[in-house]
C-alpha cells in the first residue's frame, strides 16, 4: 500500500515537473480531435448561416434552432446534443461506459484514432518517466519503437472489452438487474443494486486495462520482446502485487473523482452559459487536468513496476 502511494506521489512530482511534456500531450490529443472539430464546426457554421435572422442579435444559441438542427442531423452532427455542454459531457461519457450505451458508428473513427495516438504516447511517456529528462528526438524514437506492439496490446484489450460488454455486461444489466430491481422496495435500493453491478463489472474491465498497461511497461522498461510474453509478465505482476496495483488504481481514481467534483461545482457556481467562451475554457482546463492525472498514473505505474516488479 505504501509503495502504491509512494509511486503515486512520485508520479505527481514527475508530471508537476514536466509542464512541457503535459503541454505536448495536450497538443497531440487536441490535434487528434481537431479534424473532427473542424468538420463539425464547418457544418455548424453552414447551418447557422441559414438561421433566420430573428436570432441574429442574440448572444446565446437559440434552443429552437438547436432542436431543428438535431432533427435533421446525421453522422457526426447527430452527436451535437445538449450533453456536450460543461459537466454534462464527462457525465455522459462515463455513464455511456458504465451502461454500455452503444455509441454512434461515426465515433468509431475518433476512438480508433485515440487508441493509436495513445499507443504512441505510451512509448514516449514511459521513456520520459523511466529515463528522466530526455530530448524530443529520444521521446519520438521511443514512441516509434514501441508503437506497433502497443497498438497490438490496445487491440487485444479492446477485443476483450467488447467481449465483456457483449456477454457479462449484457447479463448483469439485463436480466440480473431486472430481477434485482423488481425486488427493490425503493428507487434508492434499486440504485444501490445497480452500483453493485457497476463495481463488479468495473473490476473486470479494470483488470483488463491494468494488464494492458503493465504489459506496455514490461515491454518498455524490462525489454520483454513479444506481446504474448509481455501480457504474461503483466498478468503475473498484477496478480502477485494485486494490493499495490489496486491501491494505485483506486488512489488515481480518487483523483479523478476529485477532479469531476471540482468541475461540477466550478460549473454550478460559475454559471457557465451555453456556448460561452468561459464554459469552453473551463472544459479545456478539465481536459488538461484529466491528462495530468492520466500521465501521473502512467508515471506511477512505471515506478511501481520498477520498484516491485
Amino acid at each position: 500500500m505504501t509503495r502504491a502511494w509512494g509511486a503515486l506521489a512520485w508520479g505527481l512530482g514527475q508530471v508537476a515537473g514536466a509542464p512541457l511534456v503535459l503541454a505536448a500531450v495536450l497538443l497531440v490529443t487536441l490535434t487528434a480531435a481537431a479534424p473532427f472539430g473542424v468538420v463539425l464546426g464547418a457544418r455548424l457554421q453552414t447551418a447557422l448561416a441559414t438561421q433566420p435572422p430573428i436570432s441574429r442579435n442574440a448572444t446565446d444559441i437559440d434552443p429552437e434552432w438547436w432542436m431543428e438542427y438535431r432533427a435533421h442531423a446525421r453522422g457526426l452532427e447527430a452527436t451535437f446534443t445538449p450533453v456536450v455542454i460543461g459537466f454534462a459531457a464527462p457525465l455522459a461519457n462515463l455513464s455511456a461506459l458504465a451502461d454500455g450505451t452503444r455509441q454512434p458508428v461515426v465515433l468509431i473513427i475518433p476512438m480508433v484514432v485515440a487508441g493509436v495516438i495513445w499507443a504512441l504516447l505510451w512509448g514516449a511517456l514511459i521513456a520520459r518517466f523511466d529515463g528522466g529528462r530526455v530530448g524530443f528526438r529520444q521521446l519520438a524514437a521511443a514512441a516509434r519503437r514501441h508503437a506497433g506492439r502497443f497498438v497490438a496490446i490496445g487491440a487485444l484489450a479492446a477485443a476483450t472489452h467488447v467481449a465483456l460488454y457483449l456477454t457479462i455486461h449484457a447479463l448483469l444489466f439485463g436480466p440480473v438487474f431486472a430481477a434485482l430491481s423488481a425486488r427493490a422496495e425503493s428507487e434508492r435500493d434499486a440504485f444501490f443494486w445497480r452500483v453493485l453491478l457497476y463495481v463488479i463489472f468495473g473490476i473486470l474491465i479494470s483488470v483488463v486495462s491494468l494488464v494492458a498497461d503493465y504489459a506496455r511497461v514490461s515491454m518498455a522498461v524490462a525489454g520483454t520482446p513479444t506481446v504474448r510474453e509481455a501480457v504474461r509478465d503483466s498478468l503475473r505482476f498484477v496478480t502477485s502485487h494485486r494490493a499495490a496495483v489496486s491501491a494505485l488504481y483506486l488512489s488515481t481514481g480518487l483523483l479523478f473523482v476529485a477532479l469531476l467534483t471540482t468541475y461540477y461545482f466550478a460549473e454550478t457556481l460559475g454559471g457557465t452559459r451555453i456556448g460561452g467562451w468561459r464554459g469552453a475554457a473551463v472544459a479545456q482546463a478539465y481536459i488538461v487536468a484529466r491528462l495530468a492525472i492520466r500521465m501521473t498514473f502512467i508515471a506511477a505505474e512505471v515506478r511501481l513496476f520498477k520498484a516491485i516488479g
Partner: protein, 376 residues
C-alpha cells in the same frame, strides 16, 4: 390534493406547481373539469407518469434529482392540461385532434409556468442520476418572448399510452395538429387563440373537441376565415415545405445597380395560402408567407408570397448587393418540415456562437477519446 406519504420538499413543490397551473389553466380554458383532484406521486418503478383520468393526475419525483430538475413538474402540468381535452363527446375519428390540442396546451403551459427555470436535463447511469444543464433554458427569455421549443419528453413520451387519446409518435396526426396549433398561435396571436380555445372547451361538451368547432369559434370571435388552414395545414397529411431555391445578386447595368433574383419554391405538396379565396392577381395577395431580403448597406425588403404555386420569382434592383434571403423569417410556419432550406446567404461570415459551440463539442470529444482510450 393527495401527494405521497409525508410532506417532503418535493410534495410542497408539486403542490405549489399544481396550484399555479390550475390557476393559469382556469384563466386560459375555463373551470377545471373535475371538482376534486388527486395528484399521485408514483413509485419509481411504475411507468405511468403523465397519465390523467377524471379526478386523477399522475407524476413521479425521483430520488437523485436536484431541486432545479423539473421533470416531475413538467409531467404534472402536462397531466393537468390534458384533463381539459379529455371530452367524452369527442368522436373517435377526431381523437387525433383532441390529442394534438392536449400536446399543444401542455407544452404552452409548461413554457408559461416554468419560464426562466425550465432547464434541459440529462439522465445518467441507468436513468437514476439526473443532472440539470443550467446553460440551456428551453423556455422563453427576454430576447425571444415566444414559446420556442415545441417538444418536451414529459409531454410526448410514451408516445403510445392508454391515457392518450391518440398516438403521439413523431409523425402522427396528433403531433401535426399540435404543430399546426403552434403555427396558428404565431399566425393569429395568442390573444386571439386563447379565447377561441376557451370557447372550444366550453362548447365541446356537446360536439366534442373537433377542428370544425375551433374554426367556427375563430370565425365568430375574430371574423377570421381559416377554412384553408384547417383543410391544408391541420387536416392535411401533405408535407409543407417552403424554401429558397435560387438567390443571386449581380451588377445589372451601366448604372451600377444590382439586380437581385430570389426564386422561392414550394417543395412539399401542402399549401399555406393564407386564404380560401382565389388569388386576386398578385403573388403576395394573401401575405401568408413573408420574404425578407437583406442588403449589404443594411437595407432590407419585406415582401410576401401566397405560397400557392410550385415556384415564384421575385426580383429587385438596388444600390448595394443583397446578402441574404429568407422565407418565413418570423418562424410562423412551424409545420415546415425542413427549415434548413428557408434561407440563403451570399455573404458568409463565421458566427462566434458557432466557434463557441464547436469548442464545447470538441471538449466533449476529447473527453470521450480519453475515456475510451483509457480502457485499452
Amino acid at each position: 390534493m393527495f401527494l405521497g406519504a409525508g410532506v417532503s420538499d418535493a410534495d410542497a413543490r408539486l403542490s405549489d406547481t399544481a396550484t399555479r397551473a390550475l390557476t393559469m389553466l382556469t384563466g386560459w380554458f375555463g373551470p377545471f373539469p373535475d371538482t376534486t383532484l388527486a395528484i399521485v406521486d408514483l413509485p419509481w418503478a411504475v411507468d405511468l407518469a403523465g397519465a390523467a383520468y377524471p379526478g386523477v393526475v399522475t407524476t413521479r419525483t425521483r430520488w437523485l434529482a436536484p431541486a432545479r430538475e423539473l421533470t416531475a413538474e413538467r409531467t404534472l402540468i402536462a397531466g393537468l392540461a390534458r384533463r381539459y381535452w379529455q371530452v367524452p363527446a369527442t368522436p373517435a375519428e377526431f381523437n387525433w385532434f383532441a390529442e394534438g390540442v392536449s400536446l399543444y396546451s401542455s407544452t404552452r403551459a409548461i413554457h408559461e409556468l416554468l419560464e426562466g427555470r425550465n432547464y434541459a436535463s440529462q439522465r445518467a447511469f441507468g436513468g437514476f442520476v439526473l443532472h440539470v444543464i443550467r446553460a440551456l433554458n428551453w423556455s422563453p427569455n427576454s430576447w425571444q418572448p415566444q414559446p420556442r421549443v415545441r417538444h418536451f419528453a414529459e409531454v410526448d413520451e410514451p408516445s403510445r399510452a392508454p391515457w392518450r387519446l391518440a398516438s403521439a409518435e413523431a409523425d402522427s396526426q396528433a403531433q401535426r395538429a399540435a404543430l399546426a396549433l403552434h403555427t396558428l398561435e404565431r399566425y393569429v396571436g395568442w390573444p386571439a387563440l386563447q379565447p377561441a380555445l376557451a370557447s372550444l372547451r366550453e362548447r365541446a361538451g356537446e360536439r366534442g373537441v373537433v377542428p370544425a368547432l375551433l374554426a367556427e369559434v375563430l370565425s365568430e370571435q375574430r371574423g377570421i376565415e381559416l377554412g384553408w388552414f384547417f383543410e391544408d395545414v391541420l387536416h392535411g397529411k401533405r408535407a409543407i415545405d417552403y424554401g429558397i431555391e435560387v438567390f443571386t445578386s449581380e451588377p445589372g447595368g451601366a448604372d451600377g445597380r444590382f439586380r437581385t433574383v430570389v426564386k422561392v419554391r414550394r417543395y412539399g405538396d401542402g399549401v399555406f395560402a393564407g386564404t380560401s379565396r382565389p388569388r386576386d392577381g398578385s403573388l403576395s395577395s394573401s401575405k401568408s408567407l413573408a420574404l425578407l431580403v437583406r442588403f449589404a448597406d443594411g437595407a432590407q425588403i419585406d415582401d410576401f408570397w401566397d405560397g400557392r404555386d410550385d415556384r415564384a420569382e421575385f426580383s429587385y434592383s438596388s444600390r448595394s448587393r443583397a446578402i441574404s434571403a429568407t422565407i418565413d423569417p418570423g418562424l410562423i410556419l412551424l409545420v415546415d418540415v425542413d427549415r434548413a432550406n428557408n434561407s440563403r446567404t451570399l455573404e458568409w461570415a463565421p458566427r462566434p456562437e458557432g466557434f463557441r459551440m464547436t469548442l464545447n463539442w470538441l471538449a466533449w470529444l476529447q473527453d470521450l477519446m480519453l475515456s475510451y482510450s483509457a480502457l485499452v
